[in-house]
């Protein structure tokens, strides 16, 4: 088992055994989405119209909250020092942690999004497209969030700071994710362009995220 895989497996194991694991993120997602009709009223037409936006915002917040402990837990018990002394480049190590985070936090969201979409009166066929946009866009949320998590690792009020740093950077992902999801429901914008851009954003963040996060950890822990 390579160092990269070992780190992914360890993080996933920890995520599953501690704090409810995969279920907690999905549960938070569910609760947030359920809150929306209470705030907006049960007007089905309205919910269907803004359903994709609600699901995307819920996914964004759920991803964000789980990022808080991504590096902080390892920093607190001294594991982060040792992770930096391995043969694996730090960029790959943080990428491995991001992959584990995505698998345990974002992937469950993608899986239950059709069910939640149905609760928001989005037609079944469209919920599949919506799930696809989440699948393509949540890696960007995780890998951009990685940067905020690394920058705030040793600081007070880390969670709030993380949100302040990360949310503006995720605006493009939100814009194109919702646009692609809406395209399948209301049109007239075709699905292709925003979806392609969404994929491009995810791929770009797969590169930028680990480099920036590794730099932030190195500079921040000196």
């Amino acid at each position: 088992m390579s160092a990269f895989t070992a780190l992914i497996v360890r993080d996933m194991r920890l995520s599953v055994r501690v704090g409810g694991g995969a279920l907690m993120g999905a549960l938070f997602f569910l609760v947030v989405v359920v809150m929306m009709p209470f705030a907006l009223g049960p007007d089905l037409a309205l919910l269907a119209r803004i359903g994709p936006a609600i699901l995307w915002l819920g996914a964004l917040l759920a991803s964000l909250l789980a990022l808080d402990r991504l590096f902080a837990a390892d920093y607190d018990d001294g594991s982060l020092d040792l992770l930096m002394m391995g043969r694996l480049p730090l960029e790959l190590a943080v990428a491995a942690k991001a992959v584990a985070h995505w698998l345990t936090t974002a992937l469950p969201l993608v899986v239950i999004s059709p069910v939640l979409g149905m609760m928001l009166n989005i037609e079944l066929r469209a919920t599949g497209t919506l799930a696809l946009t989440l699948l393509a866009g949540t890696p960007a949320l995780t890998f951009i969030g990685l940067i905020g998590a690394a920058l705030s690792v040793a600081m007070r009020r880390g969670g709030l700071l993380l949100a302040v740093l990360v949310l503006p950077l995720t605006i493009p992902v939100l814009i194109f994710g919702v646009a692609a999801a809406n395209a399948a429901i209301v049109g007239p914008v075709p699905f292709g362009p925003p979806f392609t851009i969404l994929c491009a954003l995810s791929l770009g963040s797969l590169v930028l995220g680990p480099f920036a996060a590794a730099a932030a950890l190195r500079h921040g822990l000196e």
Binding site: M1, S2, A3, A6, L7, R10, R13, L14, R17, V18, D77, G78, S79, D81, L82, L83, M84, M85, G86, R87, L88, L221, E222
Partner: protein, 199 residues
């Protein structure tokens, strides 16, 4: 193999922690770093481990792997144990063995620190001393030439300290190097001393 430090200087948070530190350490030798609190003992170890940036000076490891950094050829045993409570003793050690590389053996390492009977126990049940021993097992399981130990005997009871001294002697006997920060003796004979702090 030789580790050499030449006019090393380090500052943390705008404060100069140490400057003009020279030392050399050869294979089979142990160096004890002593000094008051705040003199920079921990910082010196962290600088060598590559965790803290060197403000000035040169650090070289001759006879080691030229492609790897010093940190990749060293073990760092700090004040914290890097033990995850949710994983079992064996899982903790397995992870570090795989991550740090080097193809080490887990069972002998657990035996060496006398944690073999507890191998499948979740680490949350371990006492502080047992967690310390688990992190020491990491040093045995993954062979690396340089050991950087920050107050290694703290949290260990007398029998464990004796066991640690044996392990350290074994490491030195096979040509390894040890650099340890401590307030007092750590159970090794013939250690040289490096004193940090104001002259």
């Amino acid at each position: 193999m030789q580790l050499k430090g030449d006019s090393l200087a380090c500052s943390r948070g705008g404060r100069e922690v140490f400057a003009g530190v020279d030392f050399s350490l050869s294979g089979g030798e142990a160096l004890l770093v002593i000094g008051r609190n705040g003199a920079g003992k921990s910082s010196l170890l962290r600088v060598i481990a590559g965790l803290v940036r060197l403000a000035a000076g040169h650090l070289t490891l001759e006879g080691g792997d030229g492609d790897a950094s010093i940190g990749e050829q060293a073990h760092y045993l700090g004040h914290q144990d890097a033990v995850k409570p949710a994983l079992s003793v064996r899982e903790n050690l397995e992870f570090w063995t795989r991550y740090l590389g080097g193809g080490g053996e887990i069972e002998p390492a657990l035996d060496a620190v006398d944690l073999a009977p507890l191998a499948n126990l979740p680490a949350t049940y371990l006492s502080a001393g047992q967690k310390r021993r688990l992190s020491i097992a990491r040093l045995i399981a993954v062979p690396r030439p340089l050991w950087l130990l920050d107050e290694p005997t703290s949290a260990l009871d007398a029998p464990s300290q004796v066991r640690l001294a044996e392990l350290m002697r074994g490491h030195l006997a096979s040509g390894g190097m040890i650099m340890a920060a401590a307030h007092g003796p750590i159970g090794l004979e013939h250690t040289r001393e490096l004193k940090l702090g104001p002259a």
